[in-house]
């Protein structure tokens, strides 16, 4: 849980972002503490992607401040963000299915040994690290040289996260890590997210799925049409309230009512009728 005494690893203070005349974000504040999962919720187009891209260094905020460990920071590129320990795992995972797990794990950051023209990729040591890192998160590899395409979706997501952690991430930004997964696979990922929190990492968790979000999040920040609807501790907000915020609140109620009229009206009185949650 976020302790009030600790400093936020990353903090955005009153940031705004406009693309030409389109205002994607206005006056949003967001922070992550070590050892917490901060869940970012909002409908499509609410500004979640813009916010995480500012965190990841892909975009620069048009206004407002970016702070790391309480100090103002200049983050101009994804490389800067990575160097500061802010790693983003995008939905496409940045993995090549036909390449081996080891090759994917070290893609762009290959371990080398030797010197000059004899500098080579230290495959044996890299394999060892991959097997060890994945064993820690409970993926039992028979052969680190097997193609990533042979892993299940949840395992792939975990490998992508393990890679970010191994290369020194202090903050993990997970962009809808469970959206494409089945129940069992999603559970694997959620357990791993909880483990990462245990190890003191700050996790920014973007999700459409209330059950997944509520299962691991310590705090929620709700975005709606580019502005923040506030940040809440999990204890201060109920599952239904979160759902309301995610689904667009009144919009969803109106639609419910309309559906009720068409279908005979039984659902109108039952707010739990949509509790199964819109899946992405």
């Amino acid at each position: 849980m976020a302790s009030q005494s600790a400093k936020a690893i990353v903090e955005l203070r009153n940031v705004g972002k406009s693309f030409g005349t389109v205002l994607a974000l206005k006056d949003v504040s967001f922070d992550v503490y070590p050892g917490e999962v901060h869940c970012l919720l909002g409908d499509n187009g609410a500004g979640k992607s813009t916010l995480i891209k500012i965190l990841a260094g892909v975009h620069r905020a048009s206004s407002g401040d970016y702070l790391i460990d309480g100090e103002p920071a200049e983050i101009n590129s994804p490389r800067h963000a990575l160097d500061a320990g802010i790693a983003t795992v995008y939905q496409d995972l940045a993995m090549v299915p036909l390449m081996s797990i080891t090759r994917n794990f070290f893609m762009g950051r290959e371990l080398t040994k030797g010197w000059g023209p004899f500098c080579r990729f230290d495959v044996a040591r890299a394999d060892g690290i991959v097997v060890k890192e994945l064993a820690q998160i409970g993926i039992d590899l028979r052969d680190p040289a097997q193609a990533v395409g042979t892993l299940s979706g949840g395992e792939r997501q975990c490998v992508a996260i393990a890679r970010a952690v191994h290369f020194g991430a202090r903050v993990l930004i997970l962009d809808e890590p469970t959206s494409a997964l089945g129940v069992h696979q999603a559970a694997i990922v959620l357990k791993y997210v909880a483990q990462a929190r245990q190890r003191g990492l700050g996790v920014v968790f973007i999700s459409h799925n209330i059950h997944h979000a509520y299962a691991v999040a310590d705090r929620f920040t709700l975005l709606n049409r580019g502005s923040s609807k506030g940040t809440f501790m999990r204890s201060a907000i109920s599952r239904d309230e979160v759902l309301q915020a995610m689904a667009g609140g009144e919009d969803m109620q109106r639609i419910q009512a309309e559906i009720g009229k068409i279908g005979g009206g039984e659902n109108v009185a039952d707010p739990g009728g949509i509790d199964r949650g819109p899946q992405a």
Partner: protein, 377 residues
Amino acid sequence: MTELVSEKAVTPKGMGSDTARLRKPSAIARLLHRPELGALSGVILVYVVFYALAADSGMFSLSGLVNIFQVSAEIGILAVAAALLMIAGEFDLSMGSMIGFAGVTIGLCATTFNLSLPLSIAIAFSLCLAIGAANGWLTVKTGLPSFIVTLASLLVLRGLAIAVTRLLNGYTQISNITASDPDGFVVSLFSGRVGHPLFVWMAEHGWIDKKLDGTPGVDGLPASIVWWIALTGLATWVLLRTRFGNWIFAVGGDDKAARNMGVPVNRVKVILFMLTALSAAVFAAIQVFEVGSADTLRGTQKEFDAIIAVVIGGTLLTGGYGSAVGAFLGALIYGTVQIGIFYTGIDTDWFKVFLGLMVLAAVLFNNFVRRRATLAR
């Protein structure tokens, strides 16, 4: 390596893969997942078939085999570079024209401009590298398919070679290129015979055929074969054991993912285009010094021969998967069938028919192998 994690204690139950742990896959199981498997079986098949059809024809004599390897080597030198580029997801159709261009550049420099052979070679190689870099730069900057970009350079280079040569020389052929220094270092570098004493020694002991005067029937291994083997070895090492090799696979597998992970995608591609151009220049130098002349039409359609060898060798046309050894074996199959068909007595008109069917069979087989490779083991 896997023994490190055999303690179940560190593995929280119910997480990760649910499958039971198995032993490390056997060597055979690993071979079955290699991209070269199709080409290796192809080589064995081709040699079994030709042995059955033409065992006594001289095809399997030393000179017959050296002849086959020499033809394979020329395609193989191109195929190795083409394989690296194709694994990175791009094509170079200008390789054939580049051969003609490099050949006449060497020829014009050495004859019309009276430059020394080493300098002529250096100029031709530098020009080819620059053109290769231009191919790569245009491809990565415009985002056009390399198929189109290099199709343009295929035409431009061939046209340039013919036009400039005729303009300067009056003819489209250049002869007596090595006249200034017929036994010089560069000539033997590209067209020499390696291991002559060994072949003499073997002939003296009656292990290989002799000519009537007692000299060996084959007076050494042609340099092209040495180039072929050395370049294949180097490319294999780069692909499997270097940082750059990992980048090649990453760029061809998913260039967006590679870029996100900090791989310099454009640089990798430009370097590989330069390598295909360089391999065409090596091919041209070998041909020029083997026969002592250059012709603007040399290398016509060699780009397809190279691509055929690469595809037979198990490299995925869309990139991200393949091997240099596969390209080596693909070139060997190509050379063996092309030359071997003479010995069988079958009308050589059928060569292209065999080749076409073989490409189709190879691609189907390789698809099957690759599907297995990406299934759980």
